[in-house]
Amino acid sequence: MPNVKVLAQRQEQRGSRFTGGHSLCSGCAEPMIVRTVLNAIEDPVVVANATGCLEVASSRYPTSAWNVPWIHSAFENAAATIAGVEAAYRALSRKGKITKRIRFVAFAGDGGTYDIGLQALSGALERGHDFLYIVLNNEAYMNTGVQRSSATPRGANATTSPAGSVIPGKPQDRKDLTEIVVAHRVPYVAQASVSNLIDLANKVERAMKYEGPKLINVYSTCPLGWRTPWDSAVRIAKLAVDTCYWPLYEVEEGVYRVTYKPKEKLPIEEWLKPQGRFRHLFKSEKGKAIIRELQEAVDRHWEELLMKERCTQGKA
């Protein structure tokens, strides 16, 4: 299992696969995740990137932050694009034109995955291409200005689900993308967080043992969109994990394993309070009701997850 020294050693040996000199916001969680994922993979990789903050900020012509082959095509097609790259790899390997083992990674945000890219993702999962799909989940369309996505939590103030005097933020619950992917019965699915990067690195390593589609949904703080301090990426994500709002778990060949169980499960308020996007919830009765509902949902989903873990034990 890769620890931080192994990751550092790898980066020292082969150079950084994702360098400084990108224009992501100061304190953005995405580059932490990207560099960790790429350092955790031993083989050469090709990366496909959906339109989004990461893509825009890392490829402003004629500059690039990528020391691995990288392609961006559009918003909704990262999975289909990497599927094409992988198909080319299979074809050219069969013809003896490629002899190296190369692995394939797609990066996309929650908008590019939960919403507009869901169909392409589902198709690529079903067809069984060998790729790792990393969701950089910051729970809204950050690149276009913090509009709500289907990953945005209930009650959050986003620019297209604003907190108003009548409607206190997004009325709908978030979608459970991770479980949608589990339902595709691919070999490896996990949730990870920028607050637990070594856990993420370990998950990447376990995922890459499998040939076939793998997905890791990574919780990625957006200080700008969540209205938290610039240095808060790790701390806020840690609260999402410790409140069990964002459980860290993996589903390996159908077997659930919760990779981190907080010693003390914190109340949801601990995670909500430091974020500007939830501030209004504490100021009205409607908002407080939403907080209670969020807590109930977290409790229910956490219990379900533990139950799934128990139910699938011994299946392996």
Binding site: S26, Y61, V234
Partner: protein
Amino acid sequence: MAVELKSWKELPIGGVIPGGATPELNKTGSWRAQRPIWDSDKCIHCLQCWLHCPDDSILIRDQKVTGVDYDHCKGCGVCAAVCPVDAIEMVPERGGAG
């Protein structure tokens, strides 16, 4: 950042940027409002700052911290926030990059 803009005839085909990363072309250190000061005496080389740095600006050699790449560090302060021994202090930035 004075970069010479090229004519259309000089551009590689298809908008491709050959040759990998170009950190030298985008020195984001100029964004910085506060500067991390690393204290080598306090540092235990746990590499948490290196692991979390969004701008890959914690310099390391043989898995030990050697300093900060001020050409690219944007001064977010995540390194200081994750340091378990307070070996990085954020101080107000006075000069420009470098």
